[in-house]
């Protein structure tokens, strides 16, 4: 089942919430677990037992990690990490016929985070199989994240209280996420599909660039929308799930972009790989090596075909160069944009930084989007006018602008801080709620009429 479907929004969710709210506090985890397993099995009946097995194994190892004997703890940790990673890598590199089980990259990473946190003593090993199972499988974050650490939900799991305020705020967040996914991402997907159908050697250069912009917006709103829906759903159940995105396209460096994009994944790699390896505390060579390892793992996490490796290495190279040009100064400020400073020189520098980031990230998305290397080279060739076009029709660009221009402009506006501040204020006043209501039902109409669009990150 996917969040952006009539079946989920108008059937599963209302029924589930009704049961969840009516049931007494002590029964809520059971309801959530069963509901989540049903939610998962509906879309992926084959691998439900893999999920259950994974929960059981991690539970047992987690109990083992609760022991006081150091050797035993270490053994459980190593076994746990290898089993989890091994399973993930098996599916990543499995021959063509075997598809990746839904959500496996997310729940495996979540399980590893649990084991390591227990080992380190950050949390106590969970004695209730029910609670651990609920943590790993809860449907808001099961299929596509955010990657939640156990500590973030432990308290709520032990006392699952709900409030009307949580329900209200969660529903609003769910709505805005749905709007971003259905009205922006799903719509822009059509442009990318059109471009692919035409054939990359036949697109005009302006159309190629329009495609880059459109895809960049599409992948953002697809994933951000879905994450927002997840956070909203969690909120409705009383959970405060972590945010995955913080205005990434407003970043002023590629480093900063990846501190704002898919934040829970970045957090996972930082906490469980980068810092343990030494982070940037060692010498230059060591820092670069650590970064390299993280980026290799990141690209494999997304996929094992060559283009993902290219994507990862491109970003790794850019980040290393950035580090050399301006070594990270931990000033505590969240952004490298000199926003407050109104000196003309600095404003121009900031604008140039924005352009630089958007260019690099845009090109990196092309590498991410196109799996076949020849096709990728063709697209890049057409972007920069290096490769001559075959059967190019220049009217197609004009038509695409007319068809998708408005959506793209709205999308671009929605990337800004202003848009977010507007949402935060408007969602709690009358006018804003009426607007959200209208948008909500527009999404439902669109879903009925246009059919569902599979979420881009579903097979990761």
């Amino acid at each position: 089942m996917i969040f952006s479907s009539i079946l989920f929004i108008l059937v599963f969710l209302p029924v589930f919430l009704l049961i969840y709210y009516i049931v007494p506090v002590s029964g809520r985890n059971v309801v959530l677990l069963i509901g989540s397993l049903f939610f998962y099995a509906y879309g992926e009946p084959r691998y439900i037992f893999l999920l259950l097995g994974s929960i059981l194994v991690n539970y047992i190892l987690g109990r083992g990690l609760g022991s006081h004997r150091k050797i035993w703890k270490l053994f459980c940790l190593l076994l746990g990490v290898s089993l989890n990673l091994g399973l993930l890598l098996f599916f990543k590199w499995a021959p063509g016929g075997i598809m990746l089980p839904l959500g496996v990259s997310f729940y495996i990473f979540q399980s590893i985070s649990y084991l390591v946190d227990v080992y380190r003593g950050d949390i106590a090993s969970e004695h209730s199989l029910l609670r651990l199972g609920t943590y790993i499988s809860m449907f808001p974050q099961l299929v596509a994240g955010p990657i939640v650490t156990y500590g973030e939900v432990e308290k709520q799991l032990k006392n699952p209280k709900v409030s009307i305020e949580d329900f209200d705020q969660g529903l609003k967040d769910f709505t805005i996420g749905l709007v971003m996914k259905v009205l922006l991402a799903d719509r822009l997907t059509l442009l990318w599909k059109e471009i692919s159908t035409i054939g990359y050697s036949s697109i005009s250069t302006p159309l190629a660039w329009l495609g880059v912009i459109s895809f960049s917006l599409q992948i953002y709103f697809d994933f951000f929308g879905y994450s927002m829906m997840a956070v909203g759903l969690g909120r409705m159940l009383g959970f405060r799930l972590p945010e995955n995105f913080h205005l990434p396209y407003m970043a002023c460096s590629v480093r900063e972009f990846y501190r704002r994009w898919h934040m829970t994944l970045g957090r996972w790699f930082t906490k469980y790989v980068y810092i343990p390896l030494g982070g940037s505390r060692g010498n230059w060579f060591r820092t670069i090596l650590n970064l390299f390892i993280v980026w290799v793992m990141t690209s494999v996490w997304h996929g094992t075909s060559v283009n993902f490796f290219l994507w990862g290495m491109l970003l790794f190279a850019v980040i290393v160069i950035e580090k050399m040009v301006s070594p990270g100064k931990k000033t505590g400020s969240k952004t490298e944009c000199k926003n407050g400073n109104t000196e003309r020189k600095n404003r121009i520098v900031t604008i140039l930084k924005h352009i630089y980031v958007l260019l690099v990230i845009g090109i990196s998305w092309v590498c991410f989007a196109i799996t076949d290397m020849n096709q990728l080279m063709t697209y890049l060739g057409r972007m920069f006018g290096i490769l001559p076009g075959i059967s190019v029709n220049h009217m197609v660009f004009r038509n695409a602008c007319m068809k998708y221009g408005v959506t793209i402009l709205i999308g671009m506006f929605m990337c800004t801080d202003r848009a977010h501040r507007f949402y935060k204020k408007a969602k709690d006043n009358w006018l804003g709620m009426i607007l959200l209501t209208a948008l909500f039902w527009m999404c439902i109409w669109y879903l009925i009429v246009a059919g569902n669009n599979p979420f881009l990150y579903f097979r990761f």
């Binding site: 305020e165 159908t197 009426i434 009429v449």
Partner: protein
């Protein structure tokens, strides 16, 4: 005390829901959730019938009788036996074709039109009617002097109706019915049917296709009608398990082939230009298994140019 504020949004959503289902038509909203395909079929059938019922009945009765005779409706084994005009001659006398068996019938000696190589201005008075594949032809076929009445998602039952709800491709915006009545064409090219594969059976397809041709004949009495085979899809796309598959496409094309009368309705086997030995669309020519890459549209236009209607 402040808690009531948190109820506002869900109340708005419910009110919105009631407005929404009234606008959609209460019963169709429920039907839509439970039986999405059924609603579309009913809607389009109803529109087609309402608008053209009176016009059609008088005008097409004669045409129906003629075509029924060719296909042998009501006579399952008697294909083409009522008159000689639909006799399929395995080797057509087409100038310029390499392929032998494309079902062109030239048995009728009264015919003043055969198929051969197109001249310079051949497509000036031609109109192309079709779905998204024809849109590709419009955008990349280089047939700039021709007229195109096409849109993504066009169906057999909705062909004369309003522009398709979602996409308005091609250079028309009003009803194709109006456009066909207001303009005059010497050649009418049709490629339609793949979007109807999920609705109705072969009889449904035959019936609606015949009605469409009859109606076109009424509006364009002097035109040669070219029934293009429904383009096949790739083996991979065909194997997806939904209603789009080459077996179904081939069954429909066989029906279309029977509509060729050697006089003013010709069947064009476009598939011979773009498929592989197994009758599947060549996988190298397409990205999604259904639409040709822009750079391969020329295969289609070349076929059209070498199978043009020319005076004997």
């Amino acid at each position: 005390m402040k808690k009531w504020k948190s109820f506002r949004y869900i109340v708005f959503l419910c009110i919105g829901g009631m407005i929404f289902s009234t606008m959609m038509g209460y019963t169709s909203a429920i039907k839509e959730i439970l039986f999405p395909d059924l609603l579309h079929q009913e809607k389009e059938d109803r529109f087609f019938l309402e608008k053209f019922a009176e016009e059609l009945s008088a005008n097409i009765q004669g045409e129906k009788n003629r075509i029924d005779g060719v296909i042998g409706i009501g006579e399952p084994d008697g294909i083409g036996e009522k008159d000689g005009a639909g006799e399929t001659d395995p080797i057509g006398e087409d100038i310029g074709t390499e392929e032998g068996n494309d079902g062109q019938g030239n048995g009728n000696s009264d015919s003043s039109v055969i198929l051969g190589e197109a001249g310079e201005d051949y497509f000036d008075d031609a109109v192309f009617i079709g779905d998204s594949r024809t849109v590709g032809l419009y955008e990349y076929g280089g047939l700039d002097s021709a007229t195109f009445y096409c849109s993504s998602g066009m169906t057999l039952t909705g062909v004369f109706g309003p522009p398709n709800r979602h996409f308005k491709d091609g250079n028309w915006k009003e009803n194709i019915a109006d456009s066909l009545q207001e303009n005059s064409f010497k050649k009418v090219y049709i490629m339609i049917g793949i979007n109807d594969m999920g609705t109705g059976d072969l009889d449904y397809f035959t019936r609606h296709y015949e009605e469409m041709i009859s109606q076109i004949r009424v509006w364009q009495p002097d035109a040669v009608i070219f029934v293009q085979s429904i383009m096949n899809v790739t083996e991979e796309r065909s194997g997806k398990g939904d209603y789009i598959n080459n077996e179904g496409i081939n069954e429909r094309n066989r029906i279309l082939q029977e509509m060729d009368n050697g006089k003013d309705i010709f069947y064009l086997d476009i598939n011979s230009a773009v498929c592989d030995e197994n009758g599947n669309l060549n996988a190298e020519y397409t990205s999604d298994g259904v639409h040709l890459y822009a750079k391969y549209i020329y295969l289609w236009t070349d076929y059209l140019k070498s199978h043009a209607a020319i005076e004997k």
